[in-house]
């Protein structure tokens, strides 16, 4: 069977394409994919667009089933998928619309350092980070928690970490949801999820999780950069990680549970992986409660990782993290479901917004945006792939109007993992990265080659689309200089 998708994509404008709901019997709304002609060619090479059409079957879905420009084939929902359901009208919640890695997300910290200040210490910094921040598959964190504290972490998220001394209260203000979604329900989490999460707090995980030292190499918006305190040549730190085994187990548990919900609530979906239950059902409520636990766990994890990274820098540079200006710019989730109020057809509605491989991008003035950023909009952090640029963007009113305040999350995969492992040679890759001045430390050869830049779509193209479509605006661009990978 060919993997090329031959379905209809009607051009709305240069950056928006419609899959009409007439395409498949059962679609309740249209599909809309944000892309340009160039990216569309790649998008047709896997069946992500079919998944956008499948998501349109979900009961209660409103407006459209959306795909961001970094879209690729996932399970059930495509990665890069956004869909909102109307809670008061039988709207459902679907674990596949969140993903296994609940609250996989990214945070960006600034420093008051210029690259030339640290250039001759870069190797030491990368080694210190590699040493102090546990990375790699199955590694255990040094930050240990008791069984009693476990529930605390799940309720308080990053707040738990700050209370333990792993950061400052101010860090919470610059984290989505202040680092914890209210309404987490530790009793909705299985013993298995607790067990699977136990040893992993404060660890980095593997695959496309990473810690990166970056340098800002291009500014796009003077106002936004001034608001965030950013300048060209500035050293920043990016941390990308999620909820680890804890999140995977929660997802797995509820996919199993909701298999039974389909018949119970008479829900018909074209793909088993789109299992779901009404948000207002006992199953829906329990999943939401458990998902929030996993999300909060991930925020606690990223807070701990930041604490360890601050410590590593302080150790090497001989100054405290405050003296180094290592303050958090923002932290965003990109695999999550949120209950939010949005305007649909002129009416305010309470929606369950799924962002799977997609980032919240609230516009200026939104109450959830930190006070200091209110006139600029919510920061959106887009990690590129290894050896390529990352971006900082901001959310816009247009995103609020069109995509429930959502945008892309990063570059999507182009080459399959096995193909990447075959075509990209490890030594060649390291030489290539090294010639760009990038130091890489990873715990396994496999992960470096699988995560090689050639394996991903070009993040510059992806960001171009969201910027030109108006659903987020570029603030600055960063290039990596040091990479620590699991």
């Amino acid at each position: 069977m060919s993997n090329i998708w031959e379905g209809p994509l009607e051009k709305i404008d240069d950056y928006r394409w419609r899959i009409p709901k007439s395409y498949k019997q059962g679609m309740r709304v249209d599909g809309i994919i944000y892309a340009d002609e160039k990216l569309l060619k790649d998008i047709r090479h896997d069946r992500a667009a079919e998944q956008v059409a499948n998501v349109a079957f979900l009961p209660g879905i409103v407006q459209a089933s959306m795909g961001m420009p970094d879209i690729h084939w996932g399970f059930g929902f495509p990665i890069g998928g956004v869909a909102a359901t109307d809670i008061e009208n039988g709207g459902v919640i679907s674990p596949g619309g969140v993903g296994y890695d609940i609250n996989c997300g990214v945070r960006l910290m600034k420093t008051n350092l210029e690259f030339r200040d640290i250039q001759d210490k870069l190797d030491d910094l990368v080694c210190a980070l590699f040493n102090d921040v546990p990375a790699g598959v199955g590694t255990k964190g040094d930050i240990r928690v008791s069984a009693r504290e476990e529930k605390d972490i799940l309720m308080k998220g990053a707040g738990w970490a700050v209370a333990k001394g792993y950061g400052a209260a101010e860090d919470l203000e610059y984290t989505e949801e202040h680092g914890a979604i209210p309404g987490a329900d530790p009793d909705a989490v299985s013993d298995r999820a607790y067990e699977r999460g136990k040893a992993q707090s404060g660890t980095l995980g593997s695959g496309n999780h990473f810690l990166e030292i970056q340098v800002i190499d291009q500014l796009y918006s003077r106002d936004a950069c001034d608001t965030f305190g950013l300048f060209e040549g500035q050293v920043v730190l990016m941390i990308h990680s999620g909820s680890r085994g804890f999140g995977y187990q929660v997802c797995d548990d509820y996919i199993k549970t909701m298999m039974h919900s389909l018949r119970k609530y008479d829900i018909h979906i074209p793909d088993r992986q789109l299992v779901c239950a009404p948000v207002n059902s006992p199953e829906g409520k329990r999943y939401l409660g458990a998902m929030r636990c996993a999300a909060n766990y991930a925020w606690a994890n990223r807070q701990c990782l930041m604490y360890l990274a601050r410590g590593a820098f302080a150790r090497v540079l001989g100054k405290s993290w405050e003296e180094l200006g290592m303050y958090l710019i923002y932290d965003v989730a990109h695999n999550i479901a949120k209950i939010e109020t949005h305007t649909v057809d002129g009416q305010q509605k309470k929606l369950c917004v799924h962002r799977k491989g997609a980032t919240r991008a609230f516009g200026p003035g939104h109450p959830a945006v930190p006070e200091r950023y209110k006139n600029i909009g919510q920061p959106v952090i887009i990690p590129g792939d290894m050896g390529r640029n990352s971006y900082l963007l901001v959310g816009t009113q247009q995103a609020m109007d069109e995509t429930f305040g959502s945008t892309c999350h990063g570059a999507g995969r182009l080459k399959s993992r096995s193909e990447a492992a075959r075509t990209v040679k490890y030594d060649t890759l390291l030489k290539e990265l090294s010639s760009k001045g990038i130091i890489v430390k990873a715990s396994g050869r496999g992960t470096i080659v699988e995560e090689a830049p050639q394996a991903y779509k070009d993040v510059n193209d992806v960001v171009d689309v969201v910027h030109n479509a108006g659903i987020s605006k570029r603030v600055c661009r960063m290039r990596p200089v040091g990479v620590i990978k699991g």
Binding site: W73, Y100, V137, G138, D271, Q273, R417, G444, G486
Partner: protein, 140 residues
């Protein structure tokens, strides 16, 4: 007819395996072997005592049971820190499974990749000339 127990296929972001076997128990065992091949590589010259664990599972249909089996092994691997290599399936119907699984501690292995879960995506178990054939996609 392929005489290999499994092979890896192309997939954009995850790992897709096609599994072969003469009957259902062999499919289940070969699927587990494929999964642990992705996960870990045995270290040379180390042999540690094996730990054996009994597994009892149910599922609505054999496909669901296969996924439950693989995710159960994944769960045991991450919590007990064992890489499984020996499987004895005592009972396997369309809806129930009883097995004994054994393996050495993860210390005997180099861990290569983290697998989040075996997924239902494009999951199939069907007849084939050699018996049965299955396809599973792992989220990594």
């Amino acid at each position: 007819m392929p005489d290999k127990p499994y092979e890896f296929l192309e997939h954009t972001a995850d790992i897709c395996v096609r599994i072969y076997g003469k009957d259902l128990p062999e499919i289940f065992i070969n699927a587990a072997r494929a999964m642990f091949e992705v996960l870990a590589e045995k270290r040379e010259g180390i042999r540690l005592p094996q730990t054996s664990i009994d597994v009892t599972l149910t599922g609505g249909a054999r496909e669901e049971l296969l996924i439950n089996w693989l995710n159960e092994l994944l769960y045991l691997y991450s919590t007990k820190e064992i890489v499984f290599s020996d499987y004895q399936i005592r009972r396997l119907t369309g809806e129930e499974l009883e097995a004994a699984v054994a393996g050495e501690s993860t210390a005997s292995y180099i861990i290569k990749t983290e697998i989040k879960a075996a997924t239902y995506h494009e999951l199939t178990i069907e007849q084939s000339p050699g018996g049965l054939q299955a396809q599973v996609i792992f989220d990594v």
